[in-house]
């Protein structure tokens, strides 16, 4: 397979969009294309990641719509729906097109507009990824699955609500340095956990998870321009090489897993990505993990191989995962504070890592970052895509 690089990255501010879906994805795409500065080089194909436009926005075939909006005919166009892992799946499709020699330049854009509906419908929409007969019909939602997962994890590994709050505080702090983040608001241990008022400030959502343990419902779009090594070198852009991609699946219903605290698909996807890249978790300088709920950042940091099982929360305590620590996790603010427009998230994680590897992340820049890792977590861990990126000097 041919080597593939990311040569452009852009995104919209996450939050609540006043724009229609088509404009949202066009703006992110134009930002990435501007960043790539392609000149006369044409885009061969477009891949759009999205989970819910058909239901939430009454719009289908949105990749074709994007090609039209950007006036980049006759580029190929495909949409990818793979739940909350749609973003990294679309990225994988773009990678495969170039690696196989079918294309030289591919635009990968993720978009979601979830705030077109009310919170109850948005929660129901996301819950539709759960097992229809074993979970959904009983009223299972993603917060409830995460709540049960957190309860068991806390009992087994000694994780406390204070550890969960530390994840929220860290990621809200990071988001303050990210102009694209949905939430620009610091939170404190006193305010969300220890003060008497915390019971009002941070109400329970699905015990033991409280409001500040959960990501917001966001609109947003993110975009990447992928190119063959040949094109990237010809353009003379800083090269961020796609060193490894791994994907793995697990049982649809969480109850069918031998141990519900094991995120097997995260572990297998990460192992595949590291194997393909020829490096180990110790070589990673910065990571974006899928912290839709605070507990997931801790669990994924272990399953990805950064820390031993049951020790992710100890690394958090020591500040290892903070900006300035040995392995900053979610410098963007993560899903927790940057926001989680589901179809855009996997692409947005890689946008952040591209900026980090190019030294373009501003106040949240991780110094001398060379290798980066992303985990895009679909379902409740039943479809996971892991990616390793490397900066080439």
């Amino acid at each position: 397979m041919r080597p593939v690089s990311i040569i452009g990255a852009g995104m919209t501010k996450f939050g609540r969009s006043e724009w229609p879906l088509s404009k949202l994805m066009s703006v992110a795409s134009l930002a990435a294309l501007h960043h790539a500065d392609l000149g006369d080089v044409k885009v061969d194909g477009v891949v759009v990641a999205n989970m819910g436009a058909a239901r939430l926005n009454r719009q289908t075939a949105i990749a074709s719509a994007l090609v039209d909006s950007l006036n980049i005919f006759p580029a190929t166009a495909e949409s990818v729906e793979n739940g909350p892992a749609s973003g990294a799946s679309a990225f994988k499709v773009g990678y495969q097109a170039i690696a196989s020699g079918m294309a030289d330049v591919v635009l990968v854009t993720g978009v979601e507009m979830m705030r077109a509906v009310n919170n109850l419908e948005a929660t129901d929409f996301v819950a539709s990824l759960s097992h229809p007969e074993a979970e959904y019909i009983y009223g299972v939602t993603l917060p409830s699955l995460a709540g049960m997962f957190a309860r068991l994890y806390m009992e087994r590994y000694g994780v406390t609500r204070e550890h969960l709050a530390r994840v929220a505080i860290k990621n809200h702090d990071n988001a303050m340095k990210n102009p694209y983040a949905h939430i620009h608001q610091t939170v404190t241990m006193e305010g969300i956990l220890t003060a008497p008022e915390a019971v009002v400030n941070n109400p329970p959502i699905a015990e033991p998870l409280h409001m500040f343990d959960c990501c917001p419902v966001s609109d947003g779009a993110a975009s990447l321009v992928l190119a063959s090594q040949e094109v990237a070198e010809k353009l003379g852009r800083p090269i961020v090489r796609i060193a490894g991609i791994g994907q793995a699946t697990d049982t649809h219903a969480v109850q069918n897993r031998p141990d519900p605290t094991e995120l097997t698909a995260v572990r297998l996807a990460a192992q595949k990505a590291f194997s393909m890249a020829g490096i180990t978790p110790k070589d990673i300088d910065v990571a974006e993990l899928h912290d839709a709920f605070t507990i997931l950042e801790i669990a994924e940091s272990e399953e990805a191989g950064f820390f031993k099982k049951g020790e992710g929360h100890k690394a958090l305590e020591k500040g290892i995962t903070s900006l300035g620590g040995k392995l900053p996790i979610n410098p963007s603010g993560g899903l927790k504070a940057k926001g989680h427009p589901v179809g855009a998230t996997g692409v947005a994680q890689l946008v952040e890592l591209t900026w980090q590897l190019r030294g373009e992340a501003g106040e949240r820049q991780v110094q001398k970052a060379k290798n980066a890792f992303a985990c895009n977590f679909g379902g409740f861990g039943n479809n996971v895509v892991a990616t390793v990126l490397t900066r080439e000097v």
């Binding site: 609540r16 009310n118 608001q185």
Partner: protein, 231 residues
């Protein structure tokens, strides 16, 4: 025609005695301290100034709430509503939100509006709770009539407390029928929805003596979703 003072006396609704709302301090999620206190009539103009730019913000019904609140504040200042009161939330003196209501009679209160300027910290939830606290614990009323004009309000009041339907009683704001907060509902909800401490330290109280307005751009940014904490 009688003299103006006599006419004015006829135009002013008769007022019941109202003990003042004692200020309290609330620690927010950000760790900042918000002082909740009652305002005097001479503080109304600065609140009108804060509301004015929101009259044209459609998002989350800020336009409707602003327009109604504007009128209610003027009515309070010029004695055109019976026993109206206004509470404000101030962070380092900066206006974070306001609530108002009035007394229908000694037993029944009526909630008017809740307006959050600083969003994302449950300021509105705290201020609404303070308003209910005033009716139930300091005015010692039996019930408070409430309507919601936005889905956010409906979730916060009707569902979270939860309020009971009292559709047979009209609310002065019109629109949706009345819901009611009873003493039983209030005291059941109090442990999870009503917070804050008294007395407020003299230093904190001094910081809340004068209402400071955030810049108009900051207000719009916060209300429209920026959720920043800039002054």
């Amino acid at each position: 025609m009688g003299n103006v003072d006599e006419l004015e006396a006829l135009l002013r609704p008769p007022a019941l005695d109202m003990p003042p709302y004692p200020p309290k301090a609330i620690t927010l999620a950000s760790g900042e301290k918000m002082v909740v206190r009652q305002i005097d009539r001479d503080e109304v103009p600065i609140l009108l100034e804060a509301i004015y730019p929101l009259l044209w913000v459609e998002r989350d019904y800020y336009d409707i709430v602003s327009a109604r609140l504007f009128g209610e504040l003027l009515a309070y200042k010029r004695y055109r509503v019976k026993n109206e009161y206004v509470l404000v939330g101030l962070i380092d003196g900066v206006l974070a939100g306001m609530v108002n209501g009035h007394l229908v009679d000694e037993k029944v209160g009526m909630s008017y509006h809740t307006m959050t300027i600083r969003r994302g910290l449950r300021v509105g939830s705290h201020l609404f709770a303070a308003k209910m606290e005033y009716h139930m614990e300091f005015l010692n009323q039996e019930e408070v009539l409430i309507v919601a004009e936005s889905p956010i309000g409906f979730r916060r009041w009707m569902i979270e407390y939860p309020l009971q339907k009292k559709y047979e009683v009209p609310h002065e704001l019109g629109g949706g029928p009345s819901w009611v907060l009873t003493r039983d509902t209030y005291f059941a909800a109090k442990p999870r929805l009503v917070s804050g401490s008294r007395p407020v330290s003299s230093e904190l109280l001094a910081s809340a003596e004068t209402i400071v307005l955030p810049a108009e751009e900051t207000v719009k940014k916060q209300v429209l979703g920026g959720k920043g904490g800039e002054k």
